[in-house]
Amino acid sequence: MIESSEIGPNDPSPAESSRRGFLLRAGILLNALALAALAIPIVGYLLGPLKRGVFLKWISLGPIGTFPENQTRLAIYTNPFRQPWDGTTAEIPCWVRRLNGNSFQVFAINCSHLGCPVRWFPEAELFMCPCHGGTFHSDGERAAGPPPRSLYQYPYKVESGELWVKAGEMPVMRLPKA
């Protein structure tokens, strides 16, 4: 028992104080609940770009006749996931090497070192990167310099006389598997 002298005129009775304690705890709990309910859609919204598997589509690079055999040519496609406000940033280049007939190699423009645009030099038969001097052979294999791997390649198919590549995202080292 608490002696009456210890309880001031404004101090709550034991019953009152436990009620206040409950209200406080309930208030904290309710707010935590509201916060969690709010956080779920916000985090989900922020993580939206991470949903996988939808960023690859078959894109036509045009009739295969535009790519002479034994040559490597620059091709440009419009990213299939473009939005109207993307402007020219959706114009993505790639290197198309036609070996013969329906046999191709399609390389991403981005150097496997740090993503700069590589350029094809037919005389030297090399892709050269302007940033740190990475070089690649005509088949995309690393020739010299800092790149840790060969050039990134797009899957391709030839259908109704056109060359199609499966593309849509910028290649980086640890691209998660679709």
Partner: protein
């Protein structure tokens, strides 16, 4: 059980210590307030003017940034055009852009000088540890502002600088790809990427920077400005505050106006210098349109990131990722933790030899790499093969075979990496004196197989072409210095 209890006791003690540490610096009680309106006479110095000047330029960046935000179109399809509009049509748009760009350079330079000044004077020590930590955070946030600001200048360079940044982020183990998609806001650099950078540059970072600046100033006001360090005068937790108060009582000066006189003059000179610099130099860019299908480009980061570009270009390839993702964060952590590592003791730089050596090494690396970054010798010159002819002196009196070799050296893009007569790429060694370093056989081997950072040209050259190139390279020696020969087997190989 006893161990468990003592661990709990220790944890509680640590908790109390942390709370007390914060209270001393942040609480509004009088005990922590060290005569805010007075500063030590030794602190009224031209060495102490950089912090206030940084603050003034920060305000200038806020004002010019707000002005630019009124006109700039933060959308990937229009941003570049709106920059051109600012440059050429909006009255004084070019000047506001110039002020904002050069202001950011002034701001970062002042911040770094301020940091060096505080480091050299040992002013980060007790009780001003939190002031230092907040200041380092402000520097990092300001670098993030410079980076995102560079992206808002949405041109070809911004596009490819982003590509480099994302390629680096994409090397993070396991989560790399997800991280890149999160940062880009989609599968490619596009509208969502610019929107993100704009939000960072205009909303999130400024809010955090302003809040931290307020805290930083509050701490300076609360804890007082540190006195000029003297060798042998140690900082001790037990005595520092009372000594400091005694110094203020003995030889303190009023903060207003005496303490601010030199700050006022310096800040005004900086702003005037900025006004003139911006008027003379004009705005930066934008250069080419942000169209990735135009691949004739060579991206460069802005000045305060050149050191990073240089390290990526100069470090051995296998060190790129560990440096960017492990070494750099550890170094930054060390910079944050400095006042916690050495909170007391000597403040004078001559009595802190280890600090001095580390600082000199760090700045030697930063200055050297930044200087190299201004002309990036590690980058090939992609147009040298067609744009820079071989000096006529190297062609006079040569045989037809040697001349054929000279033609091939141009046509096969050798010049992109190798200079002749001072022009061409600097990625590989210059060819002017090649014959004094490599014998005929070594030249043939190097050309066919490559080595070092050179690709092998075995598949791209016919034997006759190799013969011609080697014949020309064998003439690449000074008149009075003979070509190299294999002295180990002179009778067999003949050279």
């Amino acid at each position: 059980m006893r161990d468990g209890e003592s661990a709990v006791t220790k944890l509680k003690a640590a908790q109390r210590a942390i709370i007390e540490w914060m209270r001393l610096r942040l609480s509004s009680s009088q005990r922590a307030n060290n005569a805010p309106s007075r500063v030590p006479r030794s602190a009224v110095s031209w060495g102490y003017v950089f912090g206030s000047a940084t603050f003034v330029v920060l305000l200038l960046e806020l004002v010019t940034g707000l002005c630019l935000a009124l006109v700039y179109a933060p959308s990937a399809d229009n941003a570049w055009q709106s920059l051109l509009y600012l440059n050429y049509q909006q009255p004084l748009g070019w000047y506001l852009r110039a002020l904002h760009y050069w202001g950011s350079n002034f701001l970062l330079a002042l911040m770094i000088i301020h940091l060096v000044q505080v480091f050299v004077l040992g002013a980060y020590k007790y009780p001003r540890e939190l002031t230092w930590i907040g200041g380092v955070l402000l520097l990092l946030l300001m670098l993030a502002m410079a980076l995102t600001g560079e992206v808002l200048r949405f041109d070809q360079e911004a596009y490819w600088d982003l590509a480099i940044g994302f390629a680096l982020a994409g090397r993070t183990p396991i989560i790399g790809g997800y991280l890149v998609h999160f940062l880009m806001g989609g599968p490619i650099i596009a509208g969502a990427t610019l929107a993100r950078m704009f939000t960072m540059h205009v909303l999130i970072l400024p809010a955090v920077i302003l809040g931290l600046t307020g805290l930083h100033l509050l701490l300076v006001y609360r804890l007082g400005i540190s006195e000029w360090p003297m060798p042998g005068r140690l900082v001790r937790r037990e005595t520092y505050l009372s000594n400091y108060r005694a110094t203020l009582d003995r030889e303190g000066e009023p903060l207003i106006p005496t303490g601010l006189r030199k700050d006022l003059i310096f800040a005004a000179l900086i702003v005037l210098g900025l006004i003139v610099t911006a008027a003379i130099m004009g705005p930066k860019g934008p250069n080419g349109a942000p169209n990735p299908s135009i691949i004739q480009t060579r991206p460069h980061p802005d000045f305060f990131f050149l050191w990073m570009e240089a390290l990526m270009g100069l470090l051995p390839a296998w060190l790129d990722t560990p440096f960017a993702l492990i070494v750099l964060p550890i170094l930054l952590l060390g910079l944050f933790a400095l006042p916690l590592i050495s909170p007391t003791g000597e403040r004078h730089i001559l009595r802190r030899p280890l600090s001095m050596v580390i600082a000199i090494i760090v700045f030697a690396v930063l200055i050297t790499t930044t200087w190299l970054g201004t002309y990036d010798p590690w980058s090939p010159d992609m147009n040298a093969w067609s744009a820079t002819p071989i000096p006529i002196a190297y062609l006079k009196g040569r045989t037809p075979l040697e001349l054929q070799g000279a033609i091939l050296i141009q046509a096969k893009q050798c010049r992109n990496c190798h200079s002749l007569g001072g022009s061409g790429g600097m990625r590989g060694p210059r060819l002017d004196t090649t014959a004094t370093r490599l014998t005929r056989n070594e030249l043939i081997r190097q050309i066919l197989q490559g080595g070092g950072n050179m690709p092998g040209y075995g598949k791209a050259l016919r034997p006759a072409e190799v013969d011609a190139i080697v014949a020309f390279l064998m003439t690449m020696h000074p008149t009075n210095e003979p070509p190299a020969r294999n002295s180990a087997r002179p009778a067999v190989t003949g050279g």
